[in-house]
């Protein structure tokens, strides 16, 4: 139960009483004409702005707080507002008051480790967000061209298949798309967990996980997973569960973007995950139809593309120059003194497809907006390839330039191996009838696919990925059978991490694998393989 701080009471009282009788408050009001389905039509409010927050002081919700709403439609003789709370408290004739502020939320470093709703109110029972906060508007124009920079630094996801084949850079927007139950959220969570290693560096990545229209239990699970892996302390969860009203679900990603922008504009790196935008589009469709906006394809309103494009456009790599960054457009006044260049906001939007149909309206829209997509396939998932990333259809349009040097070199060979394997895969059943070259390519492909499998919540640091890729590219794994690959991976990584601790750290920092070290890695790999083969023959 919340309590008033006694020491503040007298201060507030004194301040209020001293200026009690000489000032009258001026505000604008309107009257509720009709209400229903979370929408209210209001007469009056003639000076109200689109997107402004309004308050209904007569309509008190279950907690005794006045219901709040946001102005979405300005019409000739009335104003259409969406209600954030329950509409059952609102009655015809109730007063609606302008707040004169565009829908916004309070953001500060205190939001890290917290679960908040899309209006920034904490919902994890730990009281209000602590520390100094800045009011960030939900809707804000994306930074202009001159304040941006091409993507150049990697954002390591810790997932082998992504970091090697579909690399993501800081400031990029990479779509995670797939059917239900294909591990979309797991990829997102793994990526957040992997940012733990950046926290000690000079460029930590802060994370925001936006849950839109998900089950409350799922959100609790995500929170628990993050907490258990020590990732919650640098993560904010913005929760608009399935039980939240449609307007709440529709603004949740914007709240996530606003929190991300706080970090981005103060010169830090942030990662925001919108899980998922198909549910947000559905919430927006609901609100739009109730506001009688005309429906278009699949009954989505005409501006559903703009809804997603303006959201994702806010992900950016800001130019690494404080002077230029300080001129940035549409910055809230209170943030201006703290503006810094060199920050970034990476967005990983999630889209759920129905029966693998990527040509539906929302998926095609978001694919065209983002800088690439990670496509997750049900068949792969069911055949045990997890993460079920379809490397053939997944691309990263800009991430390549952000990949670390050695990784880029090694990934080239690997891409080739995989492409050849996919071409020949259909012939695999002919087995020994094939010529030796084809057999070798098939063998290599099978092992590469096996190597890319990874358990959830176990992201790999980049240096370990490099070590593994090196062993595979040298063709050393061809001696092992497919089911021995995971044993090899474990033993090999353990050995190199212990044996070359300092060198590995160096590789992680610079991203360069020297020839000397590469040879040493080859030696270790060979010994590990010999050991595995020896123990196998012993058992036999």
């Amino acid at each position: 139960m919340s309590q008033v701080r006694p020491d503040e009471v007298s201060a507030i009282l004194r301040k209020q009483l001293s200026g009690f009788d000489n000032e009258a408050d001026v505000y604008d009001v309107g009257t509720v004409l009709e209400v229903g389905d979370g929408i209210a039509r209001v007469y009056g409010l003639s000076k109200v702005q689109a997107g402004e927050l309004v308050e209904l002081p007569d309509s008190l919700d279950d907690a005794g707080e006045p219901v709040r709403g946001m102005v979405l439609n300005l019409e000739e003789d009335n104003v259409g507002i969406v209600l954030f709370g329950s509409d059952s408290a609102v009655e015809e004739g109730h007063t609606v008051k302008r707040t004169k502020e565009i829908a916004s939320l309070e953001v500060g470093d205190g939001v890290l480790g917290r679960v908040v709703d899309p209006l920034g109110r904490s919902i994890d029972g730990k009281g209000p967000v602590s520390g100094e906060t800045i009011t960030m508007p939900l809707e804000r124009k994306a930074p202009g061209v001159i304040y941006r920079e091409p993507v150049s630094q990697p954002l390591q996801t810790g997932i082998k298949a992504i970091d090697t084949l579909i690399p993501i850079g800081r400031g990029q927007r990479e779509l995670i798309i797939g059917d239900r139950q294909t591990g979309k959220t797991s990829i997102a969570i793994d990526t957040i967990i992997n940012q733990k290693q950046t926290q000690k560096s000079d460029k930590p990545v802060y994370c925001i996980y936006v849950a839109v229209g998900q089950k409350g239990s799922t959100i609790a699970q995500v929170r628990k997973a993050l907490e258990e892996n020590g990732a919650l302390e640098y993560t904010t969860i913005v929760a608009a569960p399935a039980s939240a009203s449609a307007p709440m679900r529709f603004i949740a990603p914007f709240a996530g973007a606003a929190i991300g922008e706080y970090f981005r504009d103060t010169g830090r790196d942030a990662l925001v995950i919108y899980d998922d935008l198909s549910k947000q589009a559905v919430a927006y469709r609901e609100v739009s139809l109730l506001l009688k906006r005309p429906p278009g394809r699949e009954a989505y309103p005409g501006d559903v593309f703009y809804l997603h494009s303006r959201l994702l456009e806010r992900a950016a790599k800001i130019i690494d120059s404080d002077n230029v960054a300080q001129q940035m457009n549409n910055v809230p006044e209170s943030l201006k003194p703290r503006l810094k260049g060199g920050g970034s906001l990476t967005a990983l939007p999630v889209i759920e497809t129905q029966a693998g149909d990527v040509s539906a309206y929302i998926p095609t829209n978001v694919i065209s907006i983002t800088d690439g997509q990670i496509f997750l396939d049900v068949d792969l998932f069911n055949s045990g390839v997890r993460p079920a990333i379809d490397v053939g259809t997944s691309v990263s349009r800009v991430g390549g330039s952000a990949q670390v040097k050695s990784m880029k070199k090694l990934a080239g060979t690997m891409k080739l191996d995989l492409a050849q394997y996919r071409e020949l895969e259909a012939f695999a059943k002919f087995g020994s009838d094939l010529d030796p070259t084809t057999q070798r390519q098939l063998k290599r492909g099978e092992r590469t696919v096996e190597l890319l499998k990874q358990d959830i919540y176990s992201p790999l640091p980049v240096e370990q990925q490099i070590a593994l890729l090196h062993a595979n590219n040298e063709g050393l794994l061809d001696r092992l059978s497919v089911d021995e690959i995971s044993d090899f991976e474990k033993n090999y990584l353990e050995t190199v991490s212990v044996k070359f601790e300092d060198e590995m750290e160096e590789v992680g920092k610079t991203g360069r694998l020297g020839d000397d070290l590469a040879e040493k890695f080859t030696e270790v790999a060979k010994t590990t393989i010999d050991q595995i083969l020896a123990s196998e023959s012993e058992e036999a």
Binding site: Q3, E23, V26, Y27, V29
Partner: protein, 181 residues
């Protein structure tokens, strides 16, 4: 009351015609007479609104009620409405007409909310102050509401100038709740 677009158009037409013929005052009297009749008789309002009742009946009733009481122009206007099947809008049209007239004559309607009855002097003083502030003739309506506890609030169109004790207390309450732990 929400006034429909059609009602506003009828009212505008009537006012413009009245201005042209220089009969604004008399027409205004007629309209106010109709308005008062409608306000006094809920039955008449419901009768006009009802979609079940034949329009000839509505026409006949309007004719009987107002034929002798109103000017030629107002009567013609009522007839036009009957012919266009707009009797149901009469209530809104008279409201819209009064609004339009007020706009034309530079009159502004202001509601004042007080906790205790004002003396006549205080009321005039308030009215004068408001007229000075808005630069318009003020049609002041004073409403008493004891729940305000003290002070005074004035609503000019959509803007409220609130100096009531109730509002101050509410502000204080929200200040306290903001500083809760």
């Amino acid at each position: 009351m929400q006034i429909s677009k059609a009602a506003r158009r009828y009212a505008t037409a009537l006012l413009q015609l009245a201005i042209e013929r220089d009969e604004v005052q008399v027409i205004l009297n007629d309209v106010q007479f109709i308005r008062n009749t409608l306000q006094d008789s809920r039955d008449l309002t419901l009768f006009l609104r009802s979609p079940i009742i034949n329009r000839d009946d509505k026409h006949a009733v309007l004719e009987k009620l107002f034929r002798e009481e109103v000017q030629e122009l107002t009567y013609l206007f009522l007839k036009l409405m009957a012919r266009k099947d707009r009797e149901n809008l009469l209530e809104q049209i008279v409201e819209a007409f009064v609004d339009k007239y007020n706009e034309y004559a530079g009159i502004i309607k202001i509601d004042a909310y007080v906790a205790q009855d004002l003396s006549d002097d205080q009321a005039t003083e308030l009215k004068n102050a408001l007229e000075k502030e808005t630069q318009k003739k003020v049609d002041l309506k004073i409403k008493k509401d004891t729940s305000l506890k003290g002070g005074l609030a004035v609503r000019i169109k959509d803007t409220v100038i609130d100096g009531t004790v109730k509002h101050k207390i509410n502000q204080l309450e929200s200040l306290f709740s903001e500083s809760t732990v």
